[in-house]
């Protein structure tokens, strides 16, 4: 594995190893001196063509705690705003001798394209509506920390599935780890061809959140991505909440041991009520803190060893 572009790049062993290492990195995070010398002399560039707070800053912190030099390049304020192409930007940055490019781009497949143009390790930090593998890893890490081994656990992914890149990565990774996944969304936000996809990958899907809810070990609520919606996917926000939001009533129907995840940023009151987001069972802040540990682990696995390993 040279790059991390998709959750499908990870075998079960790879995923387990990354999650195990993340647990060690998490311990380092609690120390007074949060610095490991592993990536000393390596340079990581965060190339972000889309806005991001937690992904970019956690990659930055992760790189720094591993002693790499980390540089942020965002579309705003760079030559991208002068009309430079992705290829030219990537090659320019790579020509400076960087070891890894962490790329967030609005076009699905952009990081994969970049691998053809540069020698550096490429990490997909979210491409369009395609994938976001490090988010899936940190979700799995967080749930595993609370629920134990995810094999056989029932995990629901609920919300705006059409516009989400998190759902595909999570689905692939959770299946790799042996979890039992159910996708829940209103028909307008369910990916097209879901029946074939579900049959091929071995997961289930439903349009009825209330029916799925009582059986879950984890409810992963996805954000309603207003910025990607240009049509009428649901009549009113209120109607969405009634059908698919994690409301106070649904919170009661969720089993006692079950946990709540949300990749953030949260639309409070829309897909999740403030009560649910702030509950003890809510892992939302754990997810953020795991983000750094998981990304340290990913950087270590991709950059820590020999070049051609």
């Amino acid at each position: 594995m040279k790059h991390l572009l998709s959750a499908a790049d990870l075998s079960r062993d790879d995923a387990r190893q990354i999650l195990d290492t993340a647990a060690q990195m998490h311990d380092v995070q609690q120390r007074e001196v949060k610095k490991l010398p592993v990536l000393r002399g390596r340079t990581v560039v965060n190339l972000f063509f889309e806005d991001s707070t937690r992904t970019r800053s956690s990659f930055e912190i992760a790189g720094k705690w591993l002693s790499a030099d980390v540089i942020n390049v965002s579309a705003k304020g760079s030559s991208v705003s002068k009309g430079e192409s992705l290829r030219d930007t990537a090659m320019t940055v790579a020509a400076m001798g960087v070891d890894a490019l962490v790329i967030r781009h609005h076009a699905s497949g952009a990081p994969l394209q970049v691998t053809d143009w540069v020698d550096a390790v490429v990490i997909n930090a979210g491409d369009g509506t395609h994938e976001h593998p490090t988010q899936a890893l940190l979700d799995a890490y967080t749930m595993q920390a609370r629920l134990g081994d995810l094999a056989g656990k029932r995990i629901g992914i609920i919300g705006d599935l059409t516009h989400s890149r998190v759902v595909r990565s999570n689905l692939i990774l959770l299946r790799t780890l042996g979890a039992d996944v159910t996708l829940v969304a209103p028909p307008t936000l369910m990916p097209s061809g879901i029946a074939n996809w579900a049959a091929a990958e071995g997961f289930s899907y439903s349009y009825d959140f209330d029916e799925v809810l009582p059986k879950l070990d984890a409810a992963m609520m996805l954000r309603v991505q207003k910025e990607r919606m240009s049509g009428g996917f649901f009549p009113t926000p209120r109607e969405y909440t009634v059908g698919y939001g994690l409301t106070r009533d649904r919170l009661r129907a969720l089993p006692e041991h079950a946990v709540i995840c949300h990749p953030g940023p949260v639309n409070r009151g829309l897909e999740i009520t403030a009560d649910a987001a702030d509950e003890a069972r809510s892992l939302i802040l754990d997810q953020v803190s795991a983000g750094v540990a998981v990304r340290m682990s990913v950087l270590y696995h991709l950059l820590g060893g020999a070049e051609n390993a």
Binding site: T21, Q24, M25, E32, V33, L36, P37, H301, G304, A309
Partner: protein, 196 residues
């Protein structure tokens, strides 16, 4: 480096070579090391014993059990992983990271005894000292090893040695312990696996 070569467990077949330490030799050596630690430290106050994964961890646990027998006190024990401090990371595929567990008492102002199975080039110990430096500032650091096979590449020596074992660089030393290997012995093998 000594770790990957000399300590790879071979649960199924016996590794080649002759036995240089038997189970009772190992027990006696550990008991002596425990006594030396107490003597040198004039008791067990402020001691922390840290094993270097994986065999060093097992040895550390056993040394602490012996210290309890000798002094009747539970000495804090932990493990110190050196993977991310190694100087050969770039020349090998990525390694799995082991566990670092530091007792709640921490290492600041303590006398830390590092425990490993084989002392060879000294590079693992160098990495352990760097790792320890990021965790705190011990009052002193000592090193206890079951086998010292020579061929140091760094100015490092052990304070407590189970057995000095003159070896050729080409020879392999394999340490196996009841826990985790199910067998307890130290073997030395010549390069082609001939029995000598």
């Amino acid at each position: 480096m000594e770790r990957p070569d000399s300590t790879v467990p071979r649960p199924e077949a016996d590794p080649p070579g002759r036995i240089v330490l038997t189970a009772s030799d190992i027990s006696r050596a550990l008991r002596r090391i425990a006594h030396e630690i107490v003597e040198h430290n004039k008791g067990v106050q402020d001691l922390v014993v840290l094993g270097i994964p994986t065999r060093g961890e097992a040895l550390a646990t056993r040394i602490v059990a012996l210290l309890r027998e000798i002094e009747g006190v539970d000495v804090p024990v932990g493990s110190l992983d050196t993977t991310m401090y190694r100087d050969d990371l770039r020349s090998q595929p990525t390694r799995a990271v082991g566990a670092t567990t530091i007792p709640d008492s921490g290492v600041d102002g303590k006398v830390v005894v590092l425990v490993d199975d084989v002392l060879y080039s000294g590079r693992t110990v160098r990495a352990a000292l760097d790792a320890l430096g990021d965790l705190g500032r011990p009052q002193a650091v000592r090193l206890a090893v079951l086998v010292d096979r020579g061929h140091r590449e760094l100015p490092i020596r052990a304070d407590h040695v189970g057995k000095n074992l003159p070896t050729a660089r080409s020879e392999r030393v394999s340490v196996r312990l009841t826990d985790p290997d199910g067998v307890e012995e130290v073997r030395i093998a010549t390069p082609h696996g001939e029995l000598s």
